[in-house]
Amino acid sequence: MARALIHVPASAKKGDVIEIKTLISHVMETGYRIGITGTPIPRDIIDDFVCTYNGEEVFRAKLYPAIAANPFITFFTVATASGTLAFAWTDQHGATQVQTAAITVE
């Protein structure tokens, strides 16, 4: 399991625009580099990121080989109700990592 850092405000007023920051540890190997043995280093990237807010999709990103290692994705959403934000990173092999964060909306 890769290490991820998520920043979501612990609480917000209903209707507030909130900033969400996510950082995940990943090599994002492009597949274009040649290793020390002269053979290409196989591509290994995260290619999909989704954030759902109480089950509803609020943000999605497609990632490609030009994204640097340890992708940092930050975006905004509107605080609608107390609940859970779920973040899912899927790599090119189909493995998904999910992490959640709670938010209280007054």
């Binding site: 290490r3 991820a4 850092l5 998520i6 920043h7 920051k21 950082l23 995940i24 540890s25 994002m28 640097a68 290692a69 340890n70 940092f72 930050t74």
Partner: protein
């Protein structure tokens, strides 16, 4: 690369004057002042600084039992936030076991080998980087305070000699850039003062965390000089001199650099 060599050679030709003195005490600035505002913002936000991922790995390792004694770092040292506060600001330092200084990574390795009786970790290995970054993080904001007593002085002097010695095919010394020409541009980048207060750093070019010795070896390749091996006494002397030169400046580990 030959273009880069030409740019460096042209830069030196244009500034071929006698070596100036050390940077005056009150003009010393953190290397963070020489990076873009975006990079600085990334460094200072723990949720955006990618080195924090490695720091968290280090925290896990700190608490993990290993070696034939089956002890973790925490079993002896307890809470790193207390026991390791300010430690990175005091390294390199003399150790009783050897009659010469060691840097923070080497000190971690000594404890790992002697106390935990665990396998050695290679320089730049993921685990050693993580432990070093985690320990260095505990000193953030504290002033660099390496010892410069009579015992340490010869090693600081040896480091200074390497810093000021012209070397490599470009016949260039560290001091020519970092003492004499800091604040000017080298191939589009600002030349910093080489105040090593932020190591281990996350270097955007590397896309990963690296130690000061890696950075020094980089600079030596850039000078077309033969880099010293990881762990070489010369590199430790140079590290010691750089930290002594930065004494009093605030630690920033883990810093982000372009």
């Amino acid at each position: 690369m030959s273009r880069a060599a030409f740019v460096i050679a042209a830069f030196i030709a244009a500034t071929a004057v006698a070596r100036a003195a050390d940077i005056p005490w009150d003009q010393r600035r953190s290397d963070s002042d020489f990076v873009s505002a975006d990079t600085r913002a990334m460094q200072n936000d723990d949720t955006a600084n990618p080195a924090m991922l490695v720091v968290l790995d280090g925290e896990t390792l700190w608490n993990e039992r290993t070696g034939t004694t089956n002890q973790s770092c925490a079993d002896c040292h307890g809470d790193a936030a207390k026991s390791m506060k300010g430690v990175a600001a005091r390294y390199p330092a003399m150790v009783a076991e050897q009659d010469r200084p060691v840097d923070l990574e080497q000190r971690i390795m000594m404890s790992r080998l002697a106390d935990q009786k665990a396998a050695a970790l290679p320089f730049e290995s993921k685990e050693l980087l993580a432990l070093t970054a985690y320990i260095a993080r505990q000193s953030r904001g504290m002033p660099v305070a390496v010892k410069d007593d009579a015992q340490a002085k010869p090693f600081i002097a040896a480091g200074r000699a390497i810093f000021e010695r012209r070397q490599g095919q470009l016949d260039l010394s560290c001091a020519q850039c970092h003492d004499d020409n800091w604040g000017k541009k080298l191939a589009g980048n600002l030349v910093p003062q080489a105040m090593a207060t932020g190591y281990p750093i996350y270097r955007l070019e590397w896309q990963e965390v690296g130690l000061l010795q890696r950075r020094l070896r980089n600079c030596m390749s850039g000078m077309r000089a033969e880099p010293y091996d990881f762990g070489a006494p010369e590199l430790v002397d140079l590290e010691y001199f750089l930290m002594w030169r930065a004494r009093g400046l605030a630690m920033e580990s883990p810093a982000v650099r372009p």
